[in-house]
């Protein structure tokens, strides 16, 4: 086994074993520490995946469209075409690191504060299991294995929401589980439509269509796109999201918004578009219209929200709309925009949910009307909130800018009346995004302190700063140097576009 293969296995095995170790550690605080260490080791294993293995990037006519830096391919269940085939490339690596980072921050945050509802030990163990599922989804290069990891996430996340969530947690958790399962059973059928037609589940071979007929590709793309649209979520299949995000505990919301949604958009790029390009071209206009509808509707709904967590949750619908618009253009610019938008949204929304959780923990309320004047009593918290909100609305120089701007540019570049209109409408949506975030800031930070805010102290706990500072720095870094993400993604995206537009 090469070092790269060892790292690939470690990225999945460390959190999995960590979860077991956490469950087996009797003392609660020690168990949380074990979990945090496991999450840290996972991040340590994920980062060096970027090195080495890029020797054969050199273009050649018959090179496959997916060229993983490192890969590991073992047989598992030949009867179901399931191979344990992992690999990492420039499309998946940023998301892998983001997942490992957010999980580490969440585990560290639980060292300091465990939400009401259950033991911190169980929460950390579940977070690690969720991490295994998400990382596996990003690393899988076998369609069936991809589906398997896609499913792994569902029940632990359900348990996190149902066990540690807010007042209406059971209903929200059940809605999340059933909605998401609805998506993933469609994925199952879609996967085997592809496998039955192509005779293989290997993503490297399949990317580009693998000679499947047009009818099969249309059917496969419809099923796969529906499945990922539920997960992403794409309007009108988003209605599970606001409830789940609002009711979930802070760490749950961070993981949900930060990386869980990315499984949908990543799947759309890697699986749906990659495997059924003909279907993607056919469905692109529909996808584009829905994405812009998501941007506009998400923004308008946000303008009318009165709860801070719910507002951030709905803002995800809008932001993921930009990501999907980027994918729908099927151009290199668009997909690059989608990838950086994905990562930026993960960083910024993760931070926003951390901050919203902190505000809610201190004041005991999430209602905007009761949160005025935070700047007076907790200037640092209010400042961070302002930073995150401004990053999220897409100010140039911060991470949120690139994804939204380039999605619009890509749409306009495609040209034609439809795409130009979509680009313009998306830009209007971007302006609406600014409107609702500024409204949020005006309500939360300005005016005289409300009774709930008046009692809040100015200090921030060390654990809070530890969890937030990396995200703040990343939002700045990606904003100033987008090449951190785009540089690694350029070659694989070009290769993908090469087969898609063939």
């Amino acid at each position: 086994m090469t070092l790269g293969q060892v790292l690939l296995v470690a990225v999945l095995a460390v959190p999995a074993l960590g979860a077991v170790a956490v469950a087996a550690t009797p003392r609660d605080r020690a168990a949380r520490l074990v979990g945090t260490i496991a999450a840290a080791l996972t991040l340590l294993a994920a980062v060096p995946l970027v090195f080495g293995g890029r020797g054969w990037v050199a273009w050649s006519a018959d090179a496959p469209a997916v060229r993983p830096w490192h890969q590991l391919d073992l047989p598992w269940v030949p009867g179901l075409e399931l191979r344990f085939h992992l690999g990492v490339d420039g499309i998946s690596w940023p998301l892998v690191v983001l997942t490992a980072l957010l999980t580490l921050l969440c585990c560290a945050y639980t060292m300091w504060r465990v939400p009401d509802g259950g033991s911190g030990r169980a929460l950390v163990a579940l977070l690690l299991v969720v991490e295994v599922g998400i990382l596996g989804t990003f690393l899988a290069l076998d369609l069936v294995l991809f589906f398997l990891f896609f499913e792994v996430v569902l029940l632990p996340m359900y348990a996190i929401i149902a066990g540690w969530g807010g007042a209406d947690r059971r209903r929200a958790a059940r809605k999340f589980a059933l909605y998401t399962l609805f998506g993933s059973v469609l994925l199952l059928v879609g996967v085997y439509v592809v496998v039955a037609a192509a005779g293989t589940a290997d993503l490297v071979t399949l990317t580009g269509g693998a000679g499947m007929s047009r009818g099969t590709q249309l059917a496969a793309f419809t099923l796969l796109a529906l499945a990922f649209a539920v997960k992403s979520p794409l309007w009108p299949l988003h209605s599970w999201l606001p409830d789940a995000h609002t009711q979930a505990p802070t760490v749950g919301s961070v993981v949900l918004a930060g990386v869980l949604l990315k499984m949908g958009t990543y799947g759309l790029i890697r699986v749906a578009v990659g495997v059924a390009p003909e279907g993607a071209r056919w469905a692109a206009p529909v996808l584009g219209v829905l994405a812009v509808a998501a941007i506009l509707i998400g923004s308008l709904v946000c303008l009318a929200q009165s709860d801070v967590k719910r507002l951030i949750a709905y803002s995800s619908v809008g932001h993921m709309g930009f990501v999907l618009l980027g994918v729908a253009t099927l151009t290199a610019t668009g997909i690059q925009a989608a990838l950086i938008g994905n990562v930026a949204h993960g960083v910024i929304t993760g931070l926003l949910f951390f901050l919203a959780g902190a505000v809610k923990d201190r004041t005991g309320t999430g209602t905007l009307a009761e949160l005025s004047g935070l700047r007076e009593t907790a200037p640092r918290l209010a400042g961070l909130l302002a930073f995150a909100a401004i990053a999220s609305l897409g100010l140039p120089g911060l991470a949120g800018f690139w994804g939204e701007a380039f999605a619009v540019i890509a749409a306009v570049q495609v040209g034609g009346p439809l795409w130009t209109t979509l680009g313009v409408l998306a830009a209007v949506g971007g302006a609406l995004t600014a409107a609702y975030f500024l409204r949020l800031l005006r309500q939360v930070t300005h005016n005289r302190p409300s009774p709930a805010v008046g009692q809040v102290g100015p200090g921030l706990a060390g654990a809070e700063l530890t969890a937030w500072v990396p995200l703040v720095l990343l939002a700045l870094a990606i904003g100033l140097a987008p090449t951190l993400v785009l540089g690694v993604a350029e070659a694989p995206v070009d290769a993908l576009i090469g087969v898609v537009s063939r």
Binding site: W76, V77, P78, G79, L80, E81, G133, V144, L148, E151, V152, L154, L155, Y158, A159, A162, G163, R170, R174, A177, L178, L181, F182, V185, L186, L188, V189, Y192, V193, V195, A196, A219
Partner: protein, 495 residues
């Protein structure tokens, strides 16, 4: 024709072992008259049957009782798989019965004897090569269960359940026999392979209304046994009234028996273009109705019963692919049969684990109770609740219950290979409905206990029961192993 048949006793060894177990149990109960010895003999006999079947099945296929090329006893890979699974289920059910037997709710000797008899039927069933052997084996499997269901002393529900089961089952058997008789009248053959060959060679036979009627009646009779909608109504009432271990046996061994009989008839004897549409319809109805009604259940065993009705739908689903021409190629057909068999094996293991979980969480000899009785069980018995939860999640087909996930994947794959995408979608959407109630039970296990009800099935009411715990642990380990290495089942089911 040679009148004296040569009998291959090695091929018959599993049947000898199973029947011998039953006889030995009876003798032990008469002579030794100690419950512990009786149960031990029964369990050892069943284990011996499993080992014997595995050994015979590991070799080449063996046939005996032959007339020309047609044999009444064909012990091949599938027969061995069925025999081993049935024997192991019997051991598990015996283990689950120990607390109830110890509590004196049922006579031990009779109980063990009847269970061993039923096992004999199951062992013979897989090897049956003609319709008579098949029906006799199926009845040997079912007949002792009428008594076992009603064996709980002083329980009216138990007696009612037995009568319901008896009446419905007798009607089903009559229908099956009528179907077999009509088929004989049409073709003059009783051996499954001969029937298949005759119907394939002479298409004019297939167009006779009598043949259609015979096929329909035969299938309906067997559908009763697997509790497929619309012939399912007996199952919930019977399961709920029966002692818990017997309900476990009914929903595992008995259901497997029904499926094996159905599979034998469909695969070898009847024309696929006639059975396919009927089976597709049965499958869709069964899973949909089972899942929808299960959503409304409040009693644990009734919920499991309805869910097992739904699961019968998933088992039948791959056979529904035969309805389409694309599903009737040789390759697609054998994939469909293997998928149905594999799903049945995965299901049987998970279902046994679920029933073992309920038994372990309930007081000795009690019935399944309501879902409220299980509330907060995880706080009192974390390990047992975890095992039960794993089984439920597996039945829902989600990780970490990988065995169940692979089972669903197998079915969907077989359907798509057979070109029946619509049926695959129906299966997939039903899995979503299924999750709703499996999740409700699982969530109840970890829910906070209501303060007002300390005495309902509380901690003190559940004694620490060794044997049930061991059975639960073993079956749970089996589900985990099958989840990691599902290829084992896929290989065996495809033989």
């Amino acid at each position: 024709m040679n009148v004296v048949q040569s009998v291959d006793s090695v091929a018959l060894l599993p049947a000898y072992l199973a029947a011998g177990t039953a006889v030995l149990v009876l003798i032990t109960d008469l002579l030794v008259a100690r419950p512990r010895a009786t149960i031990a003999v029964a369990a050892l006999g069943a284990l011996g049957t499993a080992v014997g079947s595995a050994l015979v099945g590991a070799g080449a296929e063996r046939r005996t009782f032959c007339v020309g090329a047609d044999c009444s006893w064909i012990f091949g890979g599938r027969a061995a798989l069925v025999a081993v699974v049935v024997a192991l289920i019997t051991v598990g059910v015996l283990g689950l019965s120990v607390p109830a037997l110890r509590a004196g709710r049922s006579p031990v000797g009779e109980y063990a004897f009847l269970l061993a008899c039923s096992m004999t039927g199951g062992v013979v069933l897989g090897a049956a090569g003609d319709l008579i052997t098949l029906i006799v084996a199926l009845e040997t499997l079912t007949l002792p269960l009428y008594v076992l269901v009603g064996l709980r002393r002083g329980s009216l529900a138990s007696a009612e359940a037995a009568v319901t089961f008896f009446v419905v089952s007798v009607v089903a058997t009559t229908l099956t026999l009528l179907g077999a008789a009509l088929l004989y009248a049409v073709t003059g053959g009783l051996h499954l392979d001969r029937l298949g060959a005759l119907l394939a060679e002479q298409p004019e036979l297939r167009d006779l209304p009598l043949t259609t009627a015979a096929v329909a009646v035969l299938l309906v009779g067997l559908a009763f046994k697997v509790a497929a909608v619309p012939f399912h109504a007996w199952a919930p009432a019977t399961y709920d009234g029966a002692p818990l271990p017997v309900a476990a046996y009914l929903s595992t061994a008995s259901k497997l028996g029904g499926l094996v009989a159905l599979l034998a008839v469909v695969q070898r004897a009847l024309p696929a273009d006639q059975t396919g549409p009927v089976l597709a319809l049965l499958a869709v109805l069964t899973m949909t109705v089972g899942n929808l009604v299960a959503l409304r259940q409040r009693r644990t065993v009734r919920l499991l019963a309805w869910s097992s009705v739904a699961q019968a739908g998933y088992i039948l689903a791959p056979l529904g692919a035969l309805a389409l021409a694309a599903g009737r190629t040789d390759e697609a057909r054998s994939a469909a049969y293997a998928a149905a068999m594999a799903y049945a094996v995965f299901f049987v293991v998970l279902e046994l684990a679920a029933f073992a979980g309920v038994t372990a969480l309930r007081p000795a000899g009690a019935d399944g109770g309501t879902l409220d009785d299980l509330r907060g069980a995880a706080r009192r018995h974390p390990w047992r609740a975890a095992a039960f939860g794993l089984a439920l999640v597996g039945l829902a087909g989600l990780p970490p219950g990988l065995a169940g996930l692979f089972a669903k994947v197998t079915v969907v794959r077989a359907l798509l290979d057979g070109g029946a995408a619509w049926l695959a979608l129906v299966v997939a959407l039903n899995a979503v409905i299924g999750l709703a109630y499996y999740l409700r039970v699982t969530a109840a296990l970890w829910a906070p206990t209501p303060l007002a009800a300390p005495n309902v099935g509380g901690a003190a009411a559940v004694p620490v029961v060794g044997v049930v715990g061991v059975v639960l642990a073993v079956v749970t380990v089996a589900t985990v192993v099958l989840g990691v290495a599902p290829q084992l089942v896929l290989d065996l089911a495809g033989r």
